[in-house]
Symmetry: C2
Subunit: 165 residues, 2 copies
């Protein structure tokens, strides 16, 4: 761990800005979502991903994978949403272990009435504040980082135990 390469002024500005934006944007979007639609961000994400499928149904595992959630977290969260009547679980025909998460009419209703306001908030607090070039840059940069993180090989460019186990 010799001579750490600290962030220079510009890098630091970007990193701090990112974290601060992250926090504030989250707070504000969550606040508006709760107030206007009675949904939390996790609620919204679940409903949103479900509603993007043709039937509004997904294997729990598949949904967890798309959301980058653990199955455990999703299972807990679904139980709460099920209580509120937003989703249901059905048994899976081809795999007796599995369960299928199904959007209820109430859930469909909830996401459809929440979406316009939420998208508007995303615009108001982020997208519409950026130039088209910045939108593209953000798209490019985030996807590059995501691809990097998703690749288990690339992620490991660090002082490695070079296979001694």
């Amino acid at each position: 761990m010799d001579a750490p390469r600290w962030l220079d002024e510009r890098e630091d500005r970007a990193w701090r800005g990112y974290r601060r934006m992250r926090r504030l944007l989250d707070l504000e979007l969550a606040r508006e979502l709760t107030q206007d639609a009675g949904l939390s961000e996790p609620d919204y994400d679940v409903l949103s991903d479900l509603s993007e499928t043709p039937q509004g149904r997904l294997r729990l595992s598949e949904l967890a994978h798309r959301m980058l959630w653990s199955r455990s977290r999703l299972s807990h969260h679904l139980s709460r949403m099920q209580q509120r009547g937003l989703v249901t679980r059905e048994e899976c025909a081809d795999d007796a272990r599995g369960s299928i998460v199904v959007l209820t009419p109430a859930g469909r209703q909830a996401i459809e009435s929440a979406a316009p306001g939420h998208v508007a908030a995303v615009r108001r607090h982020l997208i519409d504040l950026l130039t088209p070039a910045e939108v593209d840059a953000l798209g490019a940069l985030t996807h590059r980082v995501v691809d990097h993180l998703a690749d288990p090989g690339l992620r490991a460019t660090r002082p490695q135990p070079t296979a001694e186990a």
Copy 2:
């Protein structure tokens, strides 16, 4: 709520990319931090902010403000960190209600040994993947969004109850 302006393809790409990056980057940074230094991200942030002050001491309220945390959350978290010997609380001389959060030698030690690795991780998974122009763009864009969100006036460009209460 007429004709919502949905996100076009590029905007959607940026927004999804942002959220995905957010999640993956967080998971990875938290993972490495725990593994290499035994700290959570919140731990690191507290220690980091404290260590940036000359004496390693801050009013609880002031620290909460800088971190964009509620006083309650910080109080709870400090209790846990105090248990582990990373920080202490001292009474405040000029305000008998207040308490001052103090970095212990162990806390100083912890942040100093964690920092190089953490910065390296931030580089590896984010900063070093960007071009200098992208770093600058990210800095500019995030700060603009932050300024916007911090300004209670600007935040309210939405279908407003136009003062009828």
